[in-house]
Symmetry: C2
Subunit: 259 residues, 2 copies
DNA sequence: GCAATCGCTGTACACCGTACAAGAATTCTG
DNA sequence: CAGAATTCTTGTACGGTGTACAGCGATTGC
């Protein structure tokens, strides 16, 4: 008798590993509302998250925005988490890939990293989710493919690509994540960036292990705005990464020599 | 009359920017329980998060573990978020710094990055929080100080340090975050690593932009276990970063020349 | 016309973080 | 030693959360 039991309901891993046709068959001819579908729900999710952030987002709130009950969303989406996966991927659709035709790989990498950073700062709720979901949706893959092909054109060997990709884009993600959080705290307090920075510095200066090197930085950056410092940090890291990619390529035993 | 109003309750930014003496004056002489304090609560929080993850963690659950009511925790801690900040910092206390005395900066960086990665994989709930909190607690600073001094000893100029630090440790954080998530999904499904990997690959292979380069990788890594691949990716990225630091140093206009 | 399905609603459950007031335990003050 | 003051702990309650489940008109295929 136990053989008939459907056992566990097969734990869900990711929307992207779950085939679900999202049927939408009826036409709702006379209805006022044009009717829901995954795309509309996802778009509204992105808009709401952009406007109010993760904390104020809820299924009921979203449903209200769509003029509908919370539970009706579950016809199109299995869970809130799944919806978040959809939203995270959807937001990467706006991540228009720069034209990399004439650019060499270094410049291409700069363009891609910059675009990625901008996307994360514009949509602060995304950064937290990278690493939390599988992130293998179509839009994510489009970007990953572009990035991978840039690094490939730099002459890296195939088995070097994933590591190099991770080095570059995990950095960008982490950096932008901190940046977005910093912006959010600023908005909460209403302080000026430099005022807030000074407050944090004052606290950190009292800590033994860190004070020395930080004072150096403090001196070096005197008179430089927080915004400029951040840009400088990003640029420095990016040049470091590009130089690293170059070094990895030169360490290649079989130079790729396109004939 | 409005002048007397205490206005907003001063929005909290971080535990570390909030001076709170955590008094603890009574001795609870005859009591069974040894009595609570921040350290005990934080330790229990870490233990619970390690054991069951963020999802099952709650103030009530934690209180139960400590044989106490949920609300009594709020005598020692202002909010759950603040408690998370404390836990994130506390877990970095176990992050014992390797002995960097005899090692050159390259090897030191490898050791630090490895230790950091291990910490994040052992405590998967930490990775998600980096970038979400200010992360300027004493233990975080101890590690950051060590990392900064290693990079400083590599000959980077002060204004290059933050960028280089970010490049290295934001990568490690992101990488370990993905790694920890992957482990969690594996545990959920009970699949074998390679089985799970094959499933994801199968899905990804169907996506147009990504298929080509991925097939390369698939070929290159045929017969290699997922675990080995991951280690290879981490090592590749780390060597890339180290080479990048080296290149940044060589690009220095004023060589540091310690006299 | 009728059965089946779709799309949606309402209600309900268990759980969450935490505000607030009251009470028990302990120490301070006299 | 009495009483006031303070330190902790508790109980109750509020407004939320995600979502299971049953039901119910609208639409469709037969």
């Amino acid at each position: 008798m136990a053989a008939e039991r459907p056992a566990e309901p097969a734990p869900r891993i990711s929307v992207w590993l779950d085939d679900r046709p999202a049927p939408r068959r009826y036409s709702r001819t006379g209805a006022e509302q044009p009717g829901l579908d995954r795309a509309a729900i996802t778009a509204a999710t992105v808009a709401l998250l952009d406007a109010e952030g993760t904390a104020k987002f809820s299924m009921r709130r979203l449903a209200g925005e769509l003029g509908v009950t919370a539970m009706s969303l579950y016809w199109y989406v299995n869970s809130k988490e799944e919806l978040m996966e959809l939203a995270v991927d959807a937001v990467q659709a706006d991540l228009t890939l720069p034209d990399l035709a004439g650019a060499d790989w270094r410049e291409s990498l700069r363009l891609l990293a910059g675009a990625y950073r901008r996307m994360l700062v514009d949509h602060p709720w995304v950064a937290r989710t990278v690493g939390q979901y599988l992130n293998i949706g179509p839009e994510a893959m489009r970007f990953a493919g572009a990035a991978q092909s840039v690094l490939g054109s730099a002459g890296l060997r195939p088995e070097q690509l994933p590591g190099a990709l991770a080095a570059v884009f995990q950095f960008v993600n982490g950096f932008a994540s901190v940046e977005a959080n910093w912006n959010a705290r600023l908005a909460d307090t209403g302080m000026q960036p430099d005022e807030f920075y000074a407050m944090v510095l004052a606290r950190v200066d009292g800590m033994p292990q860190y004070a020395d090197s930080l004072e150096l930085r403090d001196e070096a950056d005197r008179g430089v705005s927080v915004r400029q410092m951040r840009q400088n940090d990003f640029d420095t890291a990016l040049e470091l990464l590009i130089a690293g990619v170059g070094a990895l390529r030169e360490g290649t035993h079989d130079p790729p020599a396109p004939r």
